[in-house]
């Protein structure tokens, strides 16, 4: 009876955050509802996330599995979990000044962010279809509520409702796929599925492959890969900006890690089958992300298409099914996280007296009114475009190098072409900031987002200098999987 209680070490991060969220809920409920108390809850939430990150960092590197193989922990999960926790923590830090300015600072916000983070960590560690689904739902439900968090704002409510309806649809597809997989293999555990789904019999089993495709569709919804991306621009535009920052950062990394684990953990025997799907998703996402962003006037919608494109580039690294590819995906995710959080730290800070600024045209002449901010945004956007020697270039370089090494030349060529097309819309924002006539002055940038912008810019500029640890950690994490 004690067997499942002893040795809970690998799941401590999840337990810490879950208990922290419940404690913060109590703390928030029993204190007067003031902005100061809500912000204190938020900072305590950041502290809980930092503690969990420490626990992950101290996690022994040897692979471990818990609950009869339903939950695994190894170098790969540690790497992904650190990224997810960092994404959630920084997105949470961005939220306080924003919500104070729009007068909806509430203590439930950090609680929901923490619970969503628990869901993401469970997704990263999932080694069972049930774990996968529970993690995904925990994460998604909390995020639906966060999208509608400014409930008096029509766009925010619309974003929450749209995300909920389409998310429920994708969950349905995912569950249908999972039930087919369970039916044809007789198990929900990835290791057991991998043992059965091998060889010619599995490759010819129509039911199993239909199940696999439905599962992929469900996950593709969550990472917003084309053609399952329709919800992304509307939700990114409507949700409160710090929530959009969270959407763009943490859940994408968790869902991509889940995709990697599901494909490599449960379906190594069906490699050619899922590689086709991933390749198609990658090409479609890169092209749509590059082309559709051109016409956007709202900077949050622009970032939504940008994130769709970046998911495409990350999937390019997954398509070769090689150790280099896996390493490149992880490096890509780490760099993407920093760049996105940096850009959103800028967007969150763009306020006028009348309210938030979300139109690209409103950025006109930012270089004259606030040169440091304009310069930081310029650096971050160039990095997103993939211009050397900034971090974004190295991210794309590793991914395309892995694709070329595996002989996937069409994929690499389409990737490079679409990143050239994509550079146009990033450059357009820079042009508006530096060469258009100045508009009214913006409110000063609050301290916390300012610091995050500076940190992200420094990381992006000097990535080449201290890339070593990130690349090494990604290589160690990629070794977890056999190819």
């Amino acid at each position: 009876m004690t067997s499942f209680l002893t040795g809970l070490g690998p799941i401590y991060p999840e337990i810490i955050i879950a208990i922290g969220a419940m404690a913060l809920l109590m703390y928030g409920v029993f204190r007067p509802e003031t902005d100061a108390n809500a912000e204190a809850t938020g900072w305590l939430g950041v502290l809980v996330l930092a503690t969990a990150a420490m626990t992950v960092a101290l996690d022994p590197p040897a692979p471990a599995s818990l609950f009869e193989g339903a939950f695994v922990s190894d170098r790969f999960t540690d790497f992904a979990k650190l990224l997810v926790i960092a994404g959630s923590a920084f997105a949470l830090m961005l939220s306080f000044d924003y919500f104070r300015r729009v007068k909806s600072l509430k203590f439930e916000y950090p609680v929901l962010v923490l619970l969503a983070t628990v869901g993401m960590l469970i997704m990263v560690s999932a080694n069972d279809l049930i774990t996968l689904y529970l993690g995904l739902e925990l994460q998604s439900l909390a995020l639906y509520v966060l999208a509608a968090f400014r409930r008096d704002n029509v766009k925010s409510s619309e974003a929450g409702l749209k995300y909920f309806v389409l998310g429920a649809l994708s969950s349905g597809m995912l569950l249908y796929g999972a039930s087919l997989i369970y039916g044809y293999t007789g198990s929900t555990n990835f290791t057991a599925i991998a043992a059965v789904a091998q060889g010619k019999a599995a490759a010819e089993s129509l039911g199993l492959i239909i199940g696999l495709v439905f599962l992929l569709v469900g996950i593709a919804f969550k990472i917003s890969a084309v053609p399952f991306h329709m919800w992304t621009p509307d939700v990114y535009e409507g949700a409160p900006t710090p929530v959009t920052a969270l959407f763009a950062a943490a859940p994408k990394i968790a869902a991509l890690a889940l995709l990697v684990r599901t494909m490599h953990g449960a379906f190594p025997g069906l490699g050619p089958q899922w590689q086709q799907v991933i390749t198609l998703l990658a090409i479609a996402s890169m092209l749509l992300g590059a082309v559709a962003a051109i016409g956007q006037t709202n900077i949050k919608r622009l970032m939504a298409y940008s994130s769709i494109g970046h998911v495409g580039y990350a999937l390019v690294g997954l398509a070769p099914n090689s150790p280099e590819g896996m390493q490149s995906v992880l490096i890509y995710l780490a760099i993407y996280l920093v760049m996105t959080l940096g850009v959103f730290a800028v967007i969150v800070s763009l306020h006028r007296k009348e309210g938030q600024v979300v139109e690209i045209a409103d950025l006109a002449g930012l270089s004259k009114t606030n040169l440091p901010l304009a310069f930081a945004l310029f650096i971050l956007l160039f990095s997103l475009a993939g211009i050397p020697p900034l971090a974004g270039f190295f991210a794309k370089f590793y991914v395309f190098a892995a694709a070329i090494k595996a002989g996937l030349y069409p994929l690499a060529i389409i990737g490079v072409l679409s990143s050239v097309i994509g550079a146009y819309y990033y450059l357009r924002v820079v042009k508006v900031m530096f060469f258009d006539e100045a508009k009214d002055k913006l409110l000063p940038v609050p301290r916390v987002p300012g610091m995050i912008v500076v940190a992200a810019s420094v990381f992006v500029i000097f990535f080449a200098v201290f890339a070593g640890p990130v690349v090494d950690a990604a290589a160690a994490a990629a070794k977890v999987f056999k190819f």
Binding site: F4, F67, A70, F71, K106, E108, L138, L141, Y144, T185
Partner: protein, 213 residues
């Protein structure tokens, strides 16, 4: 055995017929009642399969909670179902054509390639036999809190999120709501509860701010 088959066909036919009636019924309240009938028949099928716990859950959760909730929604919200269904007959042929095509394609696909029975499946968990003295419910309980403890807790967290979310999105602190506070009521004494007002002849008594509160 023959008796089981008879009951199976009774439950199955009733379930399908009442399922069809749910979408055919003109009156939405009747539709919900047919839904409840469908649930009961499905529960009967579960009993025939030896899964009496699932049958109980179906009756308690779906009939007891979900269907009643549906009834409330149908009665409270004034949804014009007749209007929603107005295009049903007109669009039915197109829907049948599309659905039929997809069905035919799927059948053709499976006829051509088979269902993939060739995979050696992982061994399934054994159902407790009647002789072992462990009931269905007990067997579920034994693994739910041991082997599946993690899933159980995870599901609990999801419910917590649902609760927090519902409160965040709907609770409003309204101004001017009068609430009862028992300690305050008990702590009142004549000095604070009674106010003596000198009323000049011919004018009305205007309660003070304290008394209004």
């Amino acid at each position: 055995m023959a008796l089981t088959a008879v009951f199976f066909y009774i439950f199955a036919v009733l379930a399908v017929v009442s399922g069809a009636m749910v979408i055919i019924a003109k009156n939405p309240v009747h539709a919900v009642l047919f839904l409840i009938l469908a649930f009961f028949n499905a529960a009967g099928l579960f009993v025939l399969l030896g899964a009496e716990f699932l049958a109980m859950l179906l009756v308690i959760v779906y009939v007891g909670a979900v269907a009643v909730l549906f009834l409330f929604v149908v009665m409270m919200l004034d949804v014009d179902f007749a209007e929603l269904k107005a295009g049903f007959i007109k669009n039915a042929p197109v829907g049948l054509l599309v659905g039929g095509t997809v069905l035919a394609e799927l059948v053709a696909l499976f006829m051509a390639r088979g269902f993939g029975a060739g995979i050696a499946k992982a061994p399934a968990a054994v159902m407790p036999t009647a002789a072992s003295g462990i009931s269905n419910t007990e067997a579920l309980g034994r693994i739910l809190y041991t082997k599946y403890a993690f899933f159980f807790q995870g599901a609990g967290l999801i419910l917590l999120v649902a609760m927090v979310g519902a409160i965040v999105l709907t609770l409003r602190q309204r101004e001017g709501v009068k609430r009862q506070s028992v300690p305050v009521q008990n702590a009142r004494d004549p000095a604070t509860a009674i106010e003596i007002v000198k009323v000049p002849t011919g004018s009305a008594v205007v309660p003070s701010a304290e008394a209004q509160r």
